[in-house]
């Protein structure tokens, strides 16, 4: 007789083992490690949130305290490896295998443990790719999630940092997995329900509020004039040229500069209402002046940002908010929005090779991808036209297009050298050495060259759509690579020809006066300025307060 509900029976056994530590769904802090040891089984796939911002930090510490005799060989399937405890799991032998997306703060530790052989790496994913696998072959047996508050039924309120929780909980709960939530408090009535209680099995009140990483705050005081020059070129040479209204910005000082030039430089160019109106974007504080100046129609966000809660609540015409008034984010939805519903992605990177491939991998550091490879890719499933998308499609083909196809604009914006005069333009990506060193099957490439349409540096814009051969592409990149070795090895004659065809455009070709590349051009020049722009609704995290 075939059994068709083994997982259901397993789930019941897990719940029964966990019930010993619970009153209803509530589990005492002191019993949290014992609960995890009872509910999780060796070899389980677990998702321990682990987003790029909010962290189930108490549950992470509890799991790292579990006995490796009881819990071992776990397969961690979560988007962010962010906390030291995430690494501890592997060093202690509690977890063995890893599939993830992003590891910013732990990128050095991760490569160290990988080298020691204590991590079996499955793959480094982009967010929605990993979420997709939650529903196909990496479904968690147990999800450890995190919320601001719960009620006695186990309904969860995440507030602005909803992030990955709905998708991780859905995949786990509907495949007979167990969902455990860490919350700051249990209340009688929640402001709104982000995850329904019948998907949540156990709730633990953490000793202190969960940790949130302020990831999307860039201090305008640190924006340089070369970044301002590149931002002016992006606005005039790309945003205005294609009429980009729907877009996503990656995080970085280059994109922060663009945001802060909208109410000043772009306004002077008469572009208000014509560009940058609809966004898939994290709540960047540097967009506040543009919002306050009436540039922005609406913004949907992947996650939230520390200090932006009150501002977003007060700007519900702009942000997506719940009936309770607070902003609502969702990484899965926003990544889909960024992939299919925007006409432009612009972001920075650490290395670009002669084909336009870009990577953030450098020696001894595996940072992962997050959402960039998804935002930074042409969506071949897209079927709705828009003028920027069609124009980019036309540029990629000479003469009759035959079957019309559009292109999403994928822009990499960099300074030719990064800190310590390390060149961004390189002949060969460090990623290739790392691939060999760690015996990876796939070189970690953040954005493939064939998806990149433009590269902007302080020297100029290279329009790769207009290149007709690998040689032209290489010279277009060299022609804006500044004084890096790659830039200095350019074929000057060919670069001149590419300038004539507008494949390469320097500031003077765009009518940009370098004297305007000044910090006085930024709508806000400090975090304090941003606070003033927001009518004091923005509450900067303490590490950004220097007054």
């Amino acid at each position: 007789m075939a059994e068709w509900n083994k997982r259901k029976l397993q789930r019941e056994a897990r719940l029964a083992a966990g019930a010993k530590f619970a009153r209803g769904k509530l589990v005492d802090q002191a019993a949290a490690t014992a609960l995890l040891e009872a509910v999780i089984r060796p070899g389980d796939r677990i998702c321990l949130e682990g987003d790029n911002q909010k962290q189930a930090d108490f549950l992470a510490a509890c799991l790292a305290n579990a006995s490796p005799q009881t819990l071992h060989d776990l397969h961690v399937v979560q988007s962010g490896i962010v906390l030291p405890e995430h690494i501890d799991l592997f060093e202690k032998g509690i977890a063995k295998r890893l599939d993830y997306s992003y590891s910013g703060p732990q990128s050095y530790a991760l490569s160290r443990v990988l080298k020691s052989g204590k991590i079996e790496l499955g793959a480094i994913h982009t967010y929605i790719e990993l979420f997709g696998r939650y529903f196909v072959d990496l479904t968690p047996h147990v999800a450890l999630t995190v919320a601001r508050s719960a009620d006695r039924e186990g309904n969860l309120y995440m507030g602005p940092n909803t992030e990955d929780s709905p998708v991780a909980v859905e995949a786990t709960a509907f495949k007979d997995g167990v969902v455990i939530a860490q919350v700051n408090e249990v209340v009688e009535k929640l402001p709104r329900v982000d995850v329904p209680g019948d998907r949540v099995d156990f709730v633990v009140i953490a000793p202190k509020p969960f940790y949130v990483e302020p990831l999307f705050t860039r201090d305008p005081a640190k924006i340089t004039e070369t970044q301002i020059l590149a931002a002016m070129m992006a606005i005039k040479g790309i945003y205005a040229e294609y009429g980009i209204k729907r877009l996503n910005h990656g995080i970085g000082f280059n994109t922060a500069a663009i945001e802060l030039l909208l109410p000043t430089y772009a306004d002077r160019l008469g572009l208000k209402g014509k560009i940058a109106t609809h966004w898939a974007l994290n709540p960047h504080p540097t967009l506040i002046p543009a919002i306050e100046s009436g540039w922005v129609e609406q913004i949907h966000s992947f996650g939230s940002e520390v200090g932006m809660d009150a501002y977003m609540r007060a700007r519900s015409d702009i942000y997506f908010t719940g009936r309770d008034g607070s902003m609502s984010s969702n990484r899965m939805y926003c990544q889909v929005a960024g992939l299919y519903a925007t006409d432009l992605f612009i972001g920075s990177t650490l290395q670009i090779d002669l084909n336009g491939n870009s990577s953030t991998v450098t020696e001894d550091r595996i940072a992962g991808f997050g959402g960039a490879p998804n935002m930074g890719s042409d969506a071949h499933g897209r079927r709705h036209p828009s003028e920027p998308w069609l124009k980019a499609g036309r540029e990629a083909v000479d003469g009759d297009q035959g079957l019309k196809r559009g292109r999403k604009l994928i822009v990499q914006i960099v300074e030719s050298f990064s800190e310590k005069t390390v060149p961004v333009f390189v002949e060969k990506l460090d990623s290739l050495d790392l691939t060999k060193k760690f015996k990876l099957e796939l070189a970690p490439v953040m954005i493939y060259g064939d998806d990149v349409t433009h590269i902007v540096s302080e020297e100029g814009i290279a329009n790769l759509l207009l290149c007709r051969s690998a040689e032209e592409r290489e010279q277009a990149i060299r022609g804006i690579a500044g004084f890096t070795d790659v830039g200095r090895a350019r074929d000057r004659k060919m670069v001149e020809k590419l300038r004539e065809r507008k494949v390469i455009r320097w500031p003077e070709d765009l009518g940009i006066n370098p004297l305007n590349a000044q910090r006085s051009m930024l709508a806000a020049r400090s975090i304090e300025d941003l606070m003033h722009w927001s009518g004091n609704l923005y509450e900067p995290p303490s590490k950004f307060r220097n007054w």
Partner: protein
């Protein structure tokens, strides 16, 4: 501290009549450039005082690019470099060359 000096022949005299201009600030990672109109029409000189030694080759390339793109005939540039990267230096030089020509625009 290293001092470097480059002399070039420019294609033409820099426009304008302003005698002197200064751009930038001397702070870490930045630089100050003073430009004076004090040389014969087709001559150009760039003097650099830099804290980072061993970048003479790179400076040479930055200066050659300045001469090619901006043809700063008659101008003498004095650079006080706070360890700035070549991209910053190049922008400052472009700003200086532009600023001393401004009265003619």
């Amino acid at each position: 501290m290293e001092t470097l000096s480059y002399r070039h022949t420019a294609a033409r005299r820099a426009a304008g009549s302003k005698a002197m201009a200064i751009v930038g600030v001397v702070t870490s990672g930045n630089l100050e450039v003073m430009v004076e109109r004090c040389l014969p029409d087709l001559e150009c000189q760039v003097d650099i005082a830099t804290s980072a030694e061993g970048f003479g080759d790179l400076w040479g390339a930055v200066v050659a690019d300045l001469v090619e793109r901006h043809s700063p005939g008659g101008l003498k540039f004095s650079i006080n470099d706070g360890g700035a990267r070549p991209d910053t230096v190049s922008l400052r030089l472009a700003q200086a060359a532009r600023l001393i020509e401004e009265d003619s625009l």
